[in-house]
C-alpha cells in the first residue's frame, strides 16, 4: 500500500511544484495585461494541484496504477530510438533516411519473430521499404511537403 501511495505522491508533488512555478511567474512577470489570464488560470491550477496532492498523500488517489518496472524495461530501447530519431535523426540524417532507420529499428526490435532467421530479416526490410514508399508517395509526391534533407533526404 505504501509503495502504491508513493506512486501517486511523486507525480502529485511534481505537478504541485509546476503549478507553484506557474503561479509565481504569472504574478511576477510584466506587463500585467498580458498575464491577467494566466493569473486566473494559475490560481485554479495551484488549488487543484494542492487538492490532488492531499488526496495522494492521504491515499485517496486510486485511479491509475503507475509504471511498473517491467514496462520500463520493455520501453527503454524503443524510447531511446524515438528520442534519437526525433531530436537528431530527422533533422541531421534527413527526414526519410531517419524515418526509415527508426521504423526498421523499432519494428525489428519489437517483432517477436526470430532475430537469427534470414527470412525474417528479409521480411522486415521488405515491410520497411514498403511503408516508407507509401510515406514518400503521400508526403513528397501527393502533398508536396518539403522536409529537411540532412545528409541524404
Amino acid at each position: 500500500m505504501t509503495s502504491h501511495r508513493m506512486q501517486h505522491v511523486v507525480p502529485g508533488l511534481a505537478i504541485f511544484v509546476l503549478a507553484s512555478i506557474v503561479t509565481w511567474l504569472s504574478f511576477t512577470q510584466q506587463p500585467a495585461e498580458a498575464f491577467l489570464f494566466p493569473r486566473v488560470i494559475s490560481v485554479v491550477f495551484i488549488i487543484l494541484a494542492a487538492w490532488n496532492l492531499i488526496r495522494a498523500v492521504t491515499g485517496m488517489s486510486k485511479v491509475g496504477r503507475g509504471i511498473p518496472v517491467d514496462t520500463l524495461k520493455n520501453l527503454a530501447p524503443g524510447l531511446a530510438v524515438m528520442l534519437l530519431y526525433v531530436f537528431f535523426g530527422a533533422k541531421h540524417l534527413g527526414f526519410y533516411l531517419g524515418s526509415t532507420l527508426a521504423f526498421f529499428a523499432i519494428y525489428s526490435f519489437y517483432d517477436p519473430a526470430s532475430w537469427s532467421s534470414v527470412k525474417d530479416w528479409i521480411k522486415r526490410i521488405f515491410v520497411t521499404a514498403a511503408f516508407m514508399a507509401v510515406i514518400y508517395a503521400l508526403f513528397a509526391v501527393v502533398l508536396q511537403v518539403h522536409t529537411p534533407r540532412g545528409i541524404l533526404f
Binding site: 533516411l97 530479416w121 526490410i125 518539403h146 545528409i151 533526404f153
Partner: protein, 322 residues
C-alpha cells in the same frame, strides 16, 4: 546484412557528393519556399500565392515557389522563425509586411530587426482605411472625429493587432486630431476586426483596403478615409485622411514583398533581386491581383532598402514613449 550496409554507405556518400556539387551557378535547382507569417487565406497569404505563381516559368526562376504558413502573434512567430531558424541558402524566402515587423522590432521582445533580413523586392502596397458599419451615423471622417472629441476614449476602433499598420494608423489619427480613440486589437487578424465593424460591436475600424473594398462591394460597410498620400484607384470616391484635414501620411501603408535571411550568398541575392520584380510584373499576376482587389506596387531591392530605412526612422519617432 553487412554487404547491404556497405552498399548503403557507398550510395549515401555518392549522393552527398552529388548534392554539395551544385552551387549558386545553377541556383535554383529545386523549389523555393516562401514563409508567410499569417494564416492561409489571409490577405498576405492570398497575395503571396498569386505573385509567386509564375516562378516556375523558365525566364523567371525556373523553379516553382511554394508557400509555408507560420501564423501567430501578429506575425512575430513566423519572423522569429525566419530570423533564427531559416537556412540562408536562397531556398527559403519570407514575405515581409511593413510597417509590422519594423514596429514590432522597435517595440522589442522579438528576435529580429530590419538588419536581420535582406529585402529582395516589393510587390504591393495596401493602405489602411477607416471603415464604419453600413448603418453607422458617421458619414465622414469629420463626423467620426467630432464624436471622438466629444467622447474621449469611447470611440471603439477595431484593428488587426498591436504594432501593425492598422495600429500605426490609429496612433497617427489620434495624434493628428488630438483626440483619444479606443483602439481594440482583435484576435484573428483583419477578418475578425472587420466582423466587429459589420456586427456593430465597435463604432469604427481600421482595416486593409483590399478587405474593406470587398466588404463594401458586399454592402456591409462604408469607407470614410484612406491613410495614404493619394486616393486609391480601387475606391476613387474615398478621400485621403489629409483631404479630411488630418495630418496623416502613408506610414501605415502595408507594404508587402519578399526577403531572405541575412547571410544569404550575394550572388543568390543578386539573381533574386533581378528576377523577382519580373515575376511580380508578369501580366497574369497583375490580372489576378486586380481581380482580388489588391493594389500592386513593384519596387526593386534598392528602393525597398531605402523604404525600410525611412520607415524605421518615422516609426521610431511615432512609437517613442509608448
Amino acid at each position: 546484412m553487412k554487404k547491404l550496409f556497405k552498399t548503403a554507405v557507398l550510395a549515401t556518400a555518392a549522393l552527398a557528393v552529388a548534392a554539395t556539387g551544385s552551387f549558386a551557378a545553377d541556383y535554383p535547382d529545386r523549389p523555393i519556399g516562401v514563409a508567410v507569417s499569417y494564416g492561409a487565406g489571409g490577405a498576405t497569404d492570398f497575395q503571396a500565392r498569386i505573385v509567386t505563381m509564375v516562378a516556375g516559368n523558365e525566364d523567371i526562376l525556373g523553379q516553382p515557389i511554394y508557400i509555408l504558413n507560420k501564423p501567430g502573434a501578429g506575425g512575430r512567430k513566423g519572423w522569429n522563425w525566419f530570423a533564427t531558424e531559416a537556412p540562408a541558402d536562397g531556398y527559403t524566402m519570407s514575405a515581409y509586411n511593413i510597417p509590422h515587423f519594423i514596429a514590432q522590432s522597435i517595440k522589442g521582445g522579438v528576435k529580429y530587426s530590419a538588419d536581420s533580413f535582406e529585402p529582395i523586392a516589393n510587390w504591393g502596397s495596401d493602405p489602411a482605411v477607416v471603415v464604419v458599419g453600413k448603418d453607422s451615423k458617421f458619414n465622414s471622417m469629420q463626423d467620426l472625429i467630432d464624436y471622438a472629441k466629444a467622447n474621449p476614449g469611447k470611440t471603439t476602433t477595431s484593428g488587426a493587432g498591436l504594432f501593425v499598420g492598422h495600429h500605426i494608423a490609429a496612433l497617427q489619427i489620434e495624434k493628428a486630431c488630438e483626440c483619444k480613440l479606443a483602439y481594440v486589437p482583435t484576435k484573428g487578424g483583419g477578418a475578425a476586426a472587420m466582423k466587429a465593424v459589420i456586427g456593430g460591436e465597435v463604432l469604427a475600424g481600421i482595416n486593409n483596403l483590399s478587405d474593406a473594398f470587398r466588404a463594401r462591394e458586399a454592402g456591409n460597410v462604408k469607407i470614410l478615409g484612406v491613410a495614404d498620400l493619394e486616393r486609391n484607384d480601387f475606391i476613387k470616391d474615398v478621400p485621403t485622411l489629409k483631404e479630411s484635414g488630418l495630418d496623416v501620411d502613408n506610414s501605415s501603408v502595408n507594404f508587402r514583398g519578399l526577403m531572405v535571411p541575412k547571410g544569404t550568398p550575394p550572388e543568390i541575392i543578386e539573381k533574386l533581386a533581378k528576377q523577382v520584380p519580373m515575376m511580380f510584373a508578369h501580366a497574369r499576376v497583375a490580372k489576378r491581383m486586380k481581380a482580388g482587389g489588391s493594389p500592386m506596387k513593384i519596387m526593386n531591392r534598392e528602393e525597398v532598402q531605402k523604404m525600410w530605412a525611412d520607415r524605421e526612422e518615422v516609426l521610431k519617432e511615432l512609437l517613442k514613449g509608448l
